[in-house]
Symmetry: C2
């Protein structure tokens, strides 16, 4: 292929002009960015490329915020549970918190805004039952019930930006000043933010793209007394709270929020929790506020002739790219870190922007770029994971971050990125904005729906979670699969039913989480709608503990559809006879080794007609069932692997009753894939591994050919059978 | 040892006089019994032995009950869940039941006694909403809500004794008449039972012991449409119901029971279910009734100069040997089948009888006694399991069942039983009724308490249960351990606190079952009492999901004591740092391989001070924690094995804070044990395996000696160091 240029953003740094030009040329970069801690030389800024500059509207101005410490962002914190061993109990508010990050708010009446709760009974103590000893940040309960546990929920100030704090601690920055954040909700901060933005725009005429590395509210990130991470929720609205926010909320929504609405028994409304109506109201309220304030910044950027780009991370709370207000902000672009296929789709599917950009791994940091390590390994793994998703819905641009001088010392890495960037542009050239062939439309059903598009089962961006990986694999599989994916909430199903264009609904997760659904499954209307839909021919897939809530003799409320339920110890007296594996089955035809991850125990078949596809340890882990004209598949867990992606694909086609259509634009080798773009007359045969592969390829009519692929290779062909140029 | 005689019951059969005499001599039997299907010859009855004869008061008289079919026992049955696909729904009552066992009761107004329930909402339909088509046993709902599931709960007659039915089906007895049971609650049956008993006593003067093989109510045992077991609950009161019983109950207790009180969403009040107050009332009501009726029979037996013995099995429901009314019955003896140490203790600990007897395995039936099989293997396994418990609390007598002519064909088996029976008598001679040394007192805490002494975690006698074996192992370990064991209910703790003589409380089971406790853990008083007790120095052991109920930010309500909780997906955002295994620990000092059985997933340590003793797959499975002056131990599951018995023993001593006292009357080899009888001046060193063993033995002062033991050997020594004669 011929050398092309564009779609690539290169980080630069001081004293790196010649090499920047060289990398620009080799990687075809058409944009140059700075990073946290790097600046661009004038000579670099003068290169024929767009210039991105990081911008931090709500930190980095200690000279301002030190005059207005009452305008730091706030957060509701809960102390640990403390046991009363007599009638007097003292609770240290900050005992398990990092005092350099957090300070108690005594400015707003604690007896109005705080709560002391008996966690043995759940009772909120009347304010008269407790008092404060401010000099050592302690709450004293004088009439505690011995042997009950108590917590105090209190308002605190966040006095150190958590991201800078993390870098500061990790890199041992010593006496480098702590960056103090400020809250756009507060009067002085609000005025300062817009004034500072205007001045900055005037001062930086050479910048083409203002990259809002942060916006206003950090996702919840709290450190403990050892200065280590204590709580992290990439979706958490905890740090957006303030008395002003609470009061405005109360005025608009007609009711007041309490501390417990935020601390939530210590679970802090993690996205795994079934969201309370109050929390959903709060998310809506803050999102609207953030969108309005962000729009003002974006308008200023546009007024100065520049583009506004949002970084999806850190202080992104309230922007909600898949929420109802994002479009009103007017961002030109979103950039985010690409950890895998799921996070790529989380970026590339964002609506209402002109373009999306992915920041690839590895960062150019010494943890990877050091003597004796080969950064190509991580780059290849990252690229293969992302490419699966790019072929379904490409990001518009790619880039890297960190210190290019480090990367420059690894010529093989520079070569490999050259290859990747060429391949990225080549994919765009072939696809040309066309939609890929999709055999099915799949809906992920949970409490959050579209608001958490490609964000389900996530604690923090790319962070492993023991509780989540066996479900996250569903998203990762789907991110690169020849199906359309939508995210559907229970409320939508209740209000609008299930769109007839949907082939298969997936409900997955641990019982009582937001992803499985919890108490909503006692809602007869929800159950009715799903059963009616399945019996009329719909497909249903359950993973883990789908539709689970203990109610009326069932744990899985759609047990009749799945044909399985989970034994929780209540029906051990009932004989369970059905344990014969089905002879051969469409779903398991590729005979892959099963890996159900954390798996789900004690699941058994309810009916003889259930097709048991995997049975071990006296449990069913994979089963298929027919209900009326519809089909359901149960899977005990689905961590991501090529084999499990195939298992899911086959389960989807089976559930949809479209087995005959599976082998269209299809590769029989699970490590390969075929993506077709009918309106462009091309298709790609992709090797998702770094080993050579051979695969039978099925075209749109099911005609086969054998394709040999080199490591990581992607081969383009024309749909009439020729090779694409 | 010298040949002794006594404490042994021998089964005999027709035409087996000479061999019976020989076996009597060799096994030292002093009693002879018949069995189901065998009769004793006159010459056998004349032998110098007590004669036991099986008696069945409520079956075996079809000539009577065929005149009073309305007096068959009854049961509430629930149909399967049936899905309404339109507004009309027909539900076949007996579709999943065995029609030869069960018949629908139309004599008592169905619209009064039955219930039709919408299982999607839990709503009970008004009787006007359904009608009956009696000719095909069908209920018709005319205004069903489409896509809801419905059940019908109805009264049925049990027209075939389930035990005879089981034998009939299993042995293919063809047209042998079905034995029809009758209900002592009914007028004709009641009169018949006493009349028949009197006549029988007159007709059988040679009988010394009337062995009530059945009494009045069978434990719940229902068969399906394929004549296979559908539901079995060895503790179930389902088959004791009748309209007369319901009406008397209502009169006495002041409220009426409904069908749902019995069918319980299809769980039928299994003993794994947290018992409802209504069910507990019913158990109490029936037990009192059964005790009164049984006493009348026993009195008749005594009046005729014979002894009355109860068989603990089959129709034992309502006798409740550990309940408040058992003593009033006046039984002379209880006999039961010995499957292991737990079932032995279930028999030997029964109060209010003059003696207890165990029926050992194998039965003399062709399934074991056939060419090519060695019945000694099962006999040895059974004996070693039982002997552990016998050494703690012996049954007074032992015996066998079945066809002795079969056993007689296996000379090695006859030899082995000769050895066992001698050893059994030898144990009695050494113990002489003395109490064994106990180092600790342990309480098992659950919903049932003493009523289910040695009966927790049991579906049916000696039946494996996937949900139960990881807890049942606790009982099996304790049954032969040098500790005293009591069974304690939550109600007792709430009413009386925890007896100060108790060293360690064990709460074990799956969450929300009667053994873990479920909602009772929201009772602040219960939690207070346990915490107070632990902090004052008490020991607490939790197995599986102890004290579990989702409430106020905790799953284990005593998480503060255990130092661990279970992650259910709600607190995945909270960092969990504590995963360092403790270096060395008293509990794991024997370094046994861990086997947590079904285990418990996702348990994590709450505090740094928790001593983590096993950590794998990102989970804690064994941990110790100190709370005030007390200790707690968490174990993920404890199937029975010698290693796990040691693990539990060490956990108990650690929890009790009595580590220094562990090695008193102690064997360091986990396959051996020491039991001391201080008041008799003897102790036994026991090899619990069929391989030779060597062990260090610790005496009461901790002095050591080495003892070599042959396979299964038991060596008696005097506490002054000599060998016991």
């Amino acid at each position: 292929m011929s050398r092309q240029r564009g779609r690539v953003t290169l980080p630069s740094e001081e004293g790196f002009v010649r090499e920047t030009k060289e990398l620009m040329e080799r990687w075809g970069a058409d944009a140059i960015r700075d990073s946290d801690g790097t600046k661009l030389d004038a000579a670099v800024k003068a290169l024929p490329a767009k210039i991105y500059t990081a911008y931090f509207p709500s930190r980095g101005h200690n000279e301002f915020i030190e005059q207005h410490r009452e305008e730091c962002p706030q957060i509701y914190l809960m102390t640990e549970f403390v046991l009363a061993q007599s009638v007097t109990l003292e609770i240290e508010l900050l005992r398990t918190y990092y005092r350099e990050q957090l300070d108690v708010d005594y400015l707003h009446d604690p007896h109005r805004y705080w709560q002391v709760i008996d966690r043995t009974t759940g009772e909120v103590l009347p304010p008269s039952d407790w008092r404060i000893r401010q000099q050592d940040d302690t709450v004293i309960i004088d009439n505690a019930v011995p042997w009950h546990e108590y917590t105090v929920s209190f308002l605190a100030y966040i006095q150190w930006d958590p991201v800078q704090m993390y870098n500061h601690i990790t890199n041992d920055w010593g006496d480098k000043p702590h960056e103090i954040p400020f809250d756009v909700k507060q009067p002085h901060s609000n005025a300062f933010i817009y004034k500072a933005m205007k001045q900055w725009l005037r001062d930086n005429p050479e910048v083409d793209v203002v990259r809002f590395t942060t916006l206003f509210y950090q996702f919840t990130l709290v450190f403990n007394e050892l200065a280590k991470e204590k709580f992290v929720d990439w979706f958490g609205y905890g740090a957006s709270v303030s008395v002003a926010m609470l009061e405005d909320f109360s005025r608009e929504k007609g009711y007041a929020l309490t501390a417990e609405d935020f601390v939530d028994q210590g679970y802090y409304n993690s996205s795994f929790r079934v969201p309370s109506p109050a929390y959903l109201d709060y998310v809506d309220f803050v999102s609207r506020f953030v969108a309005a304030e962000t729009k003002k910044l974006v308008d200023l950027v546009h007024d100065s002739g520049k583009e506004a780009m949002m970084f999806l991370g850190d202080q992104w709370i309230g922007t909600e790219p898949y929420g109802p207000y994002f479009g009103s902000i007017g961002f030109d672009a979103v950039v985010g870190s690409v950890g895998d296929g799921t996070t790529l789709r989380m970026i590339s599917d964002i609506p209402h922007v002109k373009y999306t950009e992915g920041r690839f791994l590895p960062y150019f940091f010494p943890d990877v770029f050091h003597e004796g390590n080969d950064p190509v390994v991580e780059a290849n793994r990252n690229w293969l994971a992302a490419r699966r998703a790019i072929l379904r819905k490409p990001i518009d641009r790619m880039g890297y971050g960190g210190y290019p001088s480090l990367a420059y010392k690894f010529p093989k890495f520079v070569d490999y990125v050259e290859q990747i960037t060429d391949e990225f542009r080549d994919i765009h050239d072939h696809i040309g904005g066309a939609s890929p062939y999709s055999g099915l439309k799949v809906a992920i059903l949970n409490c959050w729906g579209a608001l958490r598009t490609w964000q389900a089962f996530t604690v923090a961006h790319s962070l492993y979670s023991k509780q989540a990986y066996s479900y996250y694999g569903i998203l990762e599989a789907l991110s690169g699969m020849s199906v359309d994916v939508v995210f559907l909430s229970f409320d939508e199903v209740l209000e609008q039913g299930i769109d007839p264009s949907i082939d298969v609904v997936i409900n997955a997760g641990d019982a009582y989480t937001a992803f499985s659904g919890g108490e909503v499954w006692k809602n007869a209307q929800l159950v009715e709608r799903l059963r009616r839909w399945v019996y009329a021919g719909g497909g249903l897939i359950g993973v883990g503990e789908p539709s689970a809530v203990q109610h009326q003799g069932r744990f899985f409320q759609l047990a009749d559809c799945f044909g399985v339920d989970k034994e929780r110890g209540f029906s051990v007296s009932t004989d369970k006879y059905f344990n014969q594996k089905a002879e051969a089955h469409f779903i398991t035809a590729d005979d892959t080794a099963f890996d159900f991850g954390e798996t789900t125990n004690h699941v058994y078949a309810l009916y003889e007609r259930v097709e048991i596809l995997e049975y071990s340890n006296g449990e069913v882990h994979l089963a298929a069932n027919r209900s009326g004209a519809g089909r359901a598949v149960y899977i005990a867990g689905l961590p991501y692997s090529p084999g499990n992606a195939r298992l899911l694909l086959r389960s989807l086609y089976f559930a949809a009753g479209k087995e005959a259509e599976l082998k269209r634009w299809y590769a029989d080798n699970v490590d390969c894939a075929v993506h077709a773009y009918p309106e462009r007359g091309v298709y790609a045969v992709v090797n998702n591994t770094n080993d050579p592969q051979s695969t039978v390829v099925y075209d749109g009519e099911g005609r086969t050919s054998v394709v040999e692929l080199g490591p990581s290779e992607i081969v383009w062909k024309e749909t009439d059978g020729g090779a694409a140029s």
